[in-house]
Every structure is written in structure tokens, then in C-alpha cells.
Amino acid sequence: MRSCVDARTEELPVAVRAQGLGKSFPGVRALTNVDFDVRHGEVHALMGENGAGKSTLIRILSGVHRADEGTITVTGAAVPFRNGRFPGSPGEAERAGISVVHQEIDLLPNLSVAENIGLGRQRTRFGLLLQRLMRERATAALARLGIALNVRLRLADCPIAVRQMVAIARALDVSAQLLILDEPTSSLDAEETARLFTMLRRLRDGGLAIVLISHSIGEVCSIADRITVLRNGTRVGTWNAPELPPAALVEMMTGRTVTSGERSSVAPAVLPELPALRAEDLACGHVLGPVTLSLHAGETLGIAGLLGSGRSELLRAIFGADAPDGGTVAVKGVRVRPGSVRASIAAGMAFLSEDRARDGVFADLSVGENLLMALQARCGAMRPIPRTEAKAIVDRFIAALGIRAASADAPIASLSGGNQQKVLLARWLAIEPTVLLLDEPTRGMDVGARAEIESLLASLRHRGLALAIVSSELDETVRTSQRVLVLRDRAVAGMIESADVSEGAILALVAHGGDPA
């Protein structure tokens, strides 16, 4: 553990101070009266759940959004902000010394490393680029980070971790006071993350102010000097990192109490019957570590974990939507060909993705056509479902699931999100699966629609389906699940058995992992 950090940060000069920031979007209050300061020589972690206001805060700091209320002051800024309160454009923020490295690295893969670092700030002579000067500057910028790299390399030929470093070098090339990193580790593996953090510590010790956004509690605890937690657009508080243990941090983020004592035995019960679904050592690149799980007929397995913990990736790997690197999946004891959606469906699996628009809805087609698509795909192109039979199936599901559509021939785009979701659920129920994998089945739905889906899922379970449900709503997981698998940092943190399932038990595992607190 780091020593005397808290004592040190107390005396550090403030680099950037935001006071009373407020921001509204049409229909949404994104930020309310947020105070936030970053000091020179500290890594300041900004934590919060989705929609807590982290992104909005960063966008105001970097000049993308304009705050409705409040001011931002940059100590030692050469020029005051033109409106006197906050940066009016990303360029102005950059000139004031605020640099951002975004989650999707916004560099140009076709250009060289040097060009990426120097782009937009290149020196010219008689309108011609001074290539050599640009390369020298880029080399120097990378050297400051402790990286030796041929700056003539095309960026696309560099590994992602190196691109991340180049993005940071670009951000620092403008004599930055404050460096903001938005989810810098989301596409890095453990070793690359360690390299990045070594570099960040060096920059911190050199006096740079760093704001870090990350969903990984473990990472934040290992590098942050101070932590600010946002929830629902307001600041919950700022703590010196050692004063905020993981459990308390999760509690602050979610607003729910973690009671470590509730944790139960982690060993899964040995069930005699053949599981409906068994995944062994399933792994998928650096997004999912080896995971083993069993799922039985008539049971709902909740899969919990923070965003980026590998919960969606786990379902996708089981279904074959993303090809796993290793491990096996078996349905009722029969091995399924890995990475093949069709093999998974043939084996009796069905998968409802979290992204309806991207992975589910055929916007051009009607409600009925959308509903029958999986069944038709399984029958094959040569065996069309007869019209009368198709109509019977569609009408049956529209009635059973209470889908509110003008008619089966209405375009699916004319339905509300909740009803579209029901159509997609019906699409899978129509093939009568034995295992139903659901990723955020109630996302974006109002309370009524949510309750309908939940009771529907419960009745499916009673009829002997095996369900695995990923949800970021803890109360929903607790309500629907018999057992809960908790993922943390892309690996299994533990399994909570029936009697012990509670929000507290899940949060404890999310916060502490398998280790006792």
C-alpha cells in the first residue's frame, strides 16, 4: 500500500477547481451543484454508476458541453476563459491545459505516431510541414512517458495499449495541467494496465493532475489518491483513497448498504441431475477470464457485477455470439460447437442481447415477421411457415405476452421499447428453448413493463426453462434469481446460493471479490 499519500495531497496546490456546476438536458437533470477540485500531483478517481453524471462533468471540463451554472478555474492558466466561467470549446479547454483521452481512442489509425501526436499543432514553413521537427517533438513527448517507439510507425500497426500511450502523449504535448482519462483500461489486459499505471504514477510524481474514470474498483483502489463519487448528478463526497475501503465505495456509488457479514459459502451445491447448461473454463480474450457455471432446468441464475465485469461477455460467449478462446459449453450434457450461433440455437439456447437496436430488431420488418424470425431461420429458407400457422403463432404470443401493437403487420418500429422487447422475447420463446440467456431484459422500460417482463420470466421458469439473467438492477436480480453468480474484473467473484441471495451479499462480492473483507 502507498504510504503518507493523504498527508501529501493535503498540501498540494489545486490545479483545476470546479464550483457549483449544474447542467440540464431536455428532460434530464444531469448535474446539480457539483464541486470538484483536482490538485497537482494526484490521481483523482471519479466514480459512479451509469448516468451518475461522470461523462457530463468531464464534457464540461473539456469544453464539449456548456454548464448551466457554476464556474471552472484553472490555476496558472495563461489566458482566462472567454466567458470568464468555463471553457467554451474543446480548443479553449486545451489551451487552458485541460486534456482528455477518451474511451474510444480518437486518433487516426492511418497516420503515423508522430502525425497523431502533432496533428493540429504542426509547425509549418512556407506552408510545408516540418516533418523532422514533428518527429522530434513526438519522440520527446513519448520519452517523457518512458516509451521508446519509432514514431514513423503507422498507428494501426501498434497494439491498443501503445495507442493508448500515444493518445496520452498527444494529450500531454500541449503542456497540460490536467489530464483526464476516461476508462483507459477497458481494452487493456492486466499487464498493459500495470504498464499504464506505472506511467501514470510517474506523471503524477512529476506534478501533473490526473482524473481517472474507471469501473474497476480494484484498479481505482490501487492507483487513486483521492476518490470523488457521483450519484444521480450530485456529488456524494470526496475521500482520500485509503479512507474509503471498497465496500464503502460501492455503497457510496449505489446508495445501498453493503453488509459483508451476510456473505455465504461460495462453493456451489452439487446437484445430481444433469444441468441444462454447463460452461467450463469459458474464456474470451481479455474481456472474460475462465468462467465455469452450471444452470439447471426450472432455475433462474442471476449474473451480477459492475459494467465491464464481463457479465455481457459471458452470455455472448456461451451463446457463441462472440467466439470464445477456450472452454466448453454443453446443453443437457451435449457439447455445443463453440462460437456458432446456429449450433447454440439447435442445442436449445436462446439469447436476448442488451442492445435491441443493434442485435435484435429488424426495423424494416413487421411485428409478425420479427417475431417469427428465429423459428423461420431454424426451419430454413426452403420451409416457409404456412401463413395460417404463422398467424396462429403470432397471435398466440401477442396475446400471451400482452404485446400492444396495432396489428401483427404493423412495422416493429412503431412499437414502444417495452413492446419491442416483448416481441424479441417471443421470437425466442417461439423456438421453445431449454436455456434462455437474457442480457438486461428490462433495460429502458418503465415500472409497469418491467413488472410484466419479470412475471413472464417467472412463469417460464416454472414451466421448466433454465434462465440466466444479467441485470445491473440489483433489486431485480434478487427478485428473479434463485442463485446469483457475481463477476468482478472479468472473473467469478463468487456464487450466492438460494437462501443467501440479497443485495448486501451481492454488493459484498462486487466490492471485495472472493477475499474476505
Partner: protein
Amino acid sequence: MNASAMHSWHRWRSAIAWPLVAIVMLLLVNAAFDWTRTGTFAGAFQRGGFLSIVMIDGRPTGAIMDTLSRGATVALLAIGMALVIAGRGIDLSIGTVMAITGVTAAAVVDRGAPGWLAIPAALAAALVCGAWNGFLVTIGRLQPFVATLILMVAGRGIAQALADGQILTFRDPVIEFLSGGRVPWLPVPVPLLVAMLAALVTFIATRRTAAGLLLEAVGSNPGAARLAGIRERLLVFVTYVASALCAGLAGLIECARVRSADPSRLGLSLELAGIFAVVAGGASLAGGRFVLGGAIAGAYLLQTMTTTMYARDVSSDVAPLPIACVILAVCLLGSPRFRSDLRAIVKRGKQ
């Protein structure tokens, strides 16, 4: 008729309406010209008039019959292109595939083989071309535009090599039947028959099976199609093969018309006519819904325009401009959004 049939009928009608309206208007314009020329309304229907159908050597002739016959080429191309575009692709190679097929047929006949052997050989060449495109798009994962551009450019060289760089002329009754043949009990140009037959086969293959629906799903959302268990790569592959076979038939008809195959001119820039026809028939280049009838109507709109230009003695250098204007008008009127914008403007004008 049940609700679903009503629905598809509505879609069919809206796709085909605007090209048909444009064709009828063109016919009326031609009739008006003939009226002023001859001084009588009946002039349009008399010999030399645009709407006349006169029996010569026991076969009907006239501008309309000519349009029906010549329009078959682009109609065939449009059928194949409609399928490819429905699957979110594009096939730029069909003009070149026409040349390769025509040259193959001519070369086979040139070596003394009979026509009934040359036609399957030529279509086999088209099949290989289509499989190549399909391979590049589905296995090679190239963008369709780039994948088919390769054959569009390189295929001309293949055709040149097959023809030894010459224009191959031939006489063969079987191949010539494809353009000038006479069916005893049916006074219809053979090219039109071929196109209608191709349309019928395609219709049955797509709409009497589920292939058409699955293809529309792939074009509408390829990612979702894969997750629903649709064999999206196989479907897309087949569309490129179908498109090349349609182009092959078109190539045979075109070279039968002139009894020669010119590797550098045959089918030149007809891929654009095919795309035009599909778009005029109400399809979106973004993939999804397709209506075969709309694409065929679009093809015949193009041909009616071309025949009109000939009939009105418009120089072939200038002809593309009025053709483009009509196509633009049809595409704009066929777009629901443009129509609603137009209505809003008209309404504002009245106030």
C-alpha cells in the same frame, strides 16, 4: 385475402406505382407529339406512330414492341440487382459479366460447337463470376462495392483474353432465337419472355420460400440476422450468383441481337442502369425490403425513356440528360419523405 397478403400487396403497389405512372405519362407525351405531327389523334396508333403495333412478316412491330424487347436486358439485370441490394450489397460487375458470357458463347460457337452447348457454357462462366463475387464478399469480407469493382475492371481483361482481343461474330440459330426468335402461339418478343421467366423463377424462389424474408432480415440488420440464426453468408452468396446468372442471360440476349460479342463494349456501364432501375422501383440502397415488380417497372421506365429519345430524334449524346431528369423525378416522388415535404410547401404556398 388475409392481413399479411394485404400488407405485401400494399408494399408492391407503392413500389410499382411511380415508375408505371411515369411510363404512362411518357406514352401520352409521345402520343401528343404524334398528334401534332399528323394532325389527328389517331396518328399515334397508325404506322410510324409511337403507340402503333403493326404486323410485319407475321410479327408485331412498333415502338412499344421494341421497348418491350429491348427493355428485357435491363429488366434481367434489375432482378439480380434487386436481390443483391436487398442483402445490403451492390454488384458493379454485371456489365462485365454480360461481356464475359457473350464472349464465352461466341467463342464456343466459333470453335464449331452448337448453340445448345454454348448457352450452358456461357451461363456456367456467369456462375463462376457470381461465385467469385460472393466469395469475396462473404468469406473475404470485402465491402461489396470494392469486391465487385474488382471483377468489373479485371473481367474486361478476361473477356478480351477469351476473344483474343477481337470482336467475335457468329451465326447460330439457337442463340439468335434469344433475341429474334418467334414463338408460334405467342406474339411476344423472346427477350421479354426470358425476362418474365427469370422474374417468375426468382419470385417463386424468394416469395414461395422464406428466402426473400430472410434476405430482407439480413439487409435490414445483418448483426441481428446472425444472432437469430439466419445463414446470412449463404444467403448473400446466393444473391451474387443469382445476379451474375441474370447478367449472363442479359449478355446472351444482347450479343444475339447483334450476332457478335464485343469484349470491350458489351454491357458497358449497364450496371448503373441496373442500380437505377432498382432504385426507381422503390428500393433503398441500405438494404432490406425489395419488390421485384418495382425493379422491373424501373427497368422498363428506363427503356421507355430511351425509345422516346430515339423516336423524338434526340441525339444520343444529349439523351442521358432528360433520362436522368425523369429518373430523379420518379425517385423523389417515390420517397414518402419528399412527398410530405412537398405537401408542406404547397400548403404554405396556399396560405
